[in-house]
Symmetry: C2
Subunit: 477 residues, 2 copies
């Protein structure tokens, strides 16, 4: 098997497939698979069908698992019976891409000097394809490992149907471990492996005080103004300067990062200047790099994403709107849970402004990752092979609901080999990916699959037994 | 001249012109003269041209006065030299009409049982036409009075060019008094004459913390959130529950309403239930009618009209926006001035959040009306003639910048004969006007013009001398 990851052979393969990789990525990016917008339902379907065809064209068995929402793509590059199985998770749905900041058409991929511009290039179609090219390589090389693919089409809306799909097909898709390729390095100079994810609780605060726009000359002073009241409420739920949430008990279950973890953060290559540049931020709430890393990876948040209501056109229209809605979310850290935080939010709002209706939107559990043992070692080795440097262990400030779901339903460890960089612009205008990360990623996955092929498969019986365990206990592993 | 206002003759005339009035109103409403939206610039021009043609068709001399913004329509129904002159002021521009609450097309007038639905029917095209029909009647009857018309096309954006137009044509349009028909009764059961207007200071609060949308997973906790900061700022500028403005010194120059004035408010027919119904309000900040009337007529406000920035589509998009803008305004009462209040606002914001850029938008002085003397008596008499009931003296919570401008530039009293009702929905969806108010208005204006024809014209010399007075002194009359 030494031949499989012969560096020269892998390099040759990567070089050979570059043009094909770019064509395939362009095809996927060309499908505007925006899961958040019902107008794109047909595109989601089209993307799922295209993904199944792609997997088949690469030599895998593949099918669409239907759900009451979007389907899930599953594929298998099969090996001998008894060979270990690794499942690569990615998602093919994307964020909306609107707004004047887009310098190129978001759904028509542009290649500029090894950089791929378009919505979904880095989040998460580009990394999905990199793993696919690695799977084809090791399969054609005859490696004794089953490489499965799970490509979701609802990740950007919080994976509402993923769990039910996994449960329904649990036997067919049983695996020894999952590797997720949907995370981001801290710096191009230093690969990073994710050791934890924040959770998420999305919610809306809605206040209705009238039935239609009123004239502020006629009613101003007597009419309640829902925009003013929601603004004041937000000011009472969160300290806008520090970002500290003021909901009583909010931090009760938030476990602070350990000193050891904070030290490992420090090796990630994080710099305030680079971070500000990557995200287009003029200033930050914190002044030092350790404080910033703690805030974005290991502490919960309270965020306002939009306040809808009233007049938003040019100039000023002196209306008192009849209703307004604030779109908010809270990122959560272990051991906070969305359900508990939602209860606390609702109780606080009921006290501050009982007319405000609080509704929960997407909710995702925070995740604590695997940092020791053969899988963690294999991931670190693979990264070194693909990118020439040892990775730093960090956390991810974002949330991937599917991670917790896979751990709980498939009863197996979930690892991370991410290929994206801060400057790729996850969720931002002008999202991009690049060949350096794609080619390193293909090589890293080749190495990862090779290392896992040497680890023993868990007997199917054990897997079944694990599945039988009560959920709550499993969630505590 | 007794024949002119013979009640039976006026009744006959009003009955005869009804169908023509409705056709003419439909034509004016059919032109979407939205001054706030640059997309309607051509419609504004079309509306001005149509108004000139309309005045000419009625027998007046008429022309468009150009400005660096929208033109002003001027017309004269001339009488013998030396006859007194009264100028009727209305505006033909309208508020935007968007949103799903509109049950009928806003710019295609629908007549339903004596009610006229469409944007601009009551604010202010319907009242303008009522005065026009009265002018034609008294002119054809040979009454010795010049009736002039000033129809503005920038009232809804704060009359930015009205003053310069008046100054330029001051000699041509010199008049003995102005009557404004752009105010609203308190109740259909009791005519009301306006004895004061609130002023207005519109402003935007803009905060930019980044250059593009950031992902709240990647940056949440460290990135400043302009929506959260603006919300907190609003909470610190205004008590959302009571509506009380918290800017230091805001109330320093606000003269409280006198006991006598509050008593006259009480005779206006105001009821909390009717007021809530008319404006579609579920609840009010105050519990008693006197407190509500004081709040909407005689006290200043702090209002939020819209908060722009971030995500406003379906669901939640977990972005931290790079910037946000709050559209706010403050209604002002005598002796507050927009300039002084703006200074106080800016100073307070600079202290609370120095990164927020405060810009002033429209600004209008508050106005204290004429409540005694022959003009006030004529207006009350005219209302009794048109509607069969004596009017109550009230104030108007809204702002008409043109009023202060006319008083100062034309150096003459500005009176109010308003025809609109609360249920007509000024600035609201499904705006409407009705024949009862239009027909009563025609009769009232006929009577008003007759009474004024008996009052002596001010000699032109006096008018010129008054014009020569320094502005500040005149503003204190």
């Amino acid at each position: 098997m030494a031949k499989v990851t012969d560096p020269a052979a892998v390099r040759r393969y990567v070089k050979e497939v570059r043009s094909e990789y770019e064509t395939r990525l362009g095809e996927l990016v060309g499908i505007p698979s925006v899961s958040m917008d019902p107008a794109h339902t047909a595109d989601i379907r089209r993307c799922g069908d295209a993904a199944v065809e792609l997997l088949k064209a690469f030599g895998a068995r593949a099918e669409l698992f239907e759900s009451s929402g979007n389907p899930v793509v599953w594929g298998r590059f099969g090996a001998a019976p008894g060979a270990p199985t690794v499942t690569v998770y990615n998602h093919l749905d994307v964020q909306p891409a609107d707004g004047p900041e887009w310098k190129r058409p978001p759904f028509s991929m542009q290649i500029e000097g090894g950089r791929y511009y378009g919505r979904g290039t880095t989040d998460d179609k580009g990394p999905a394809l990199a793993a696919l090219y690695a799977a084809r390589y090791v399969t054609e090389a005859g490696l004794s490992i089953n490489v499965d693919f799970l490509w979701e089409l609802e990740e950007e809306i919080g994976s509402p149907n993923f769990e039910s799909v996994l449960k329904k097909h649990a036997k067919q898709i049983a695996t020894d471990s999952v590797v997720v390729s949907d995370t981001i390095w801290i710096s191009r100079q230093r690969p990073a492996i994710t050791a934890g994810l924040r959770g998420l609780l999305g919610a809306t605060l809605r206040l209705e005080t009238g039935s239609h726009d009123a004239h502020s000359g006629l009613t101003g002073g007597a009419a309640r103004n829902p925009l003013t009241e929601l603004s004041a409420l937000i000011g009472e739920l969160c300290d806008a300067k520090t970002g500290r949430c003021k909901i009583p008990g909010f931090y009760a279950d938030a476990i602070p990062a350990s000193k050891r973890e904070l030290t490992s953060f420090g090796r990630s290559g994080f710099s305030i200047a680079g971070y500000k540049r990557a995200h287009g931020l003029k200033s930050l709430r914190q002044k030092t790099a350790p404080a910033v890393m703690r805030a974005i990876w290991a502490e919960p948040t309270f965020e306002v994403h939009g306040i809808v209501g009233g007049y938003s056109g040019p100039g000023i229209k002196t209306v008192v709107p009849p209703s307004a809605e604030a779109k908010i979310s809270m990122r959560l850290v272990p051991d906070q849970t969305p359900a508990d935080v939602f209860r606390k939010l609702r109780a606080r709002v009921a006290k501050l402004n009982p007319d405000v209706v609080v509704s929960s939107e997407s909710s995702l559990m925070p995740y604590r990752g695997v940092t020791e043992g053969p899988l963690a070692d294999a991931a670190a080795d693979a990264i070194r092979f693909g990118f020439g440097k040892a990775p730093a262990l960090v956390r991810e400030g974002g949330s991937i609901g599917a991670v917790v779901t896979m751990r709980d339903v498939l009863r197996c460890p979930v690892m991370f080999i991410g290929l994206s960089l801060p400057e790729h612009g996850y969720h931002a205008p002008n999202e991009n990916f690049d060949w350096r990360q794609a080619s390193g990623g293909i090589a890293a996955f080749v190495r990862y699959f090779e290392l896992l092929s040497k680890q023993r498969a868990r007997p199917a019986v054990t897997r079944a037994a694990r599945r039988a365990r009560p959920r709550a206990a499993a969630a505590r592993r």
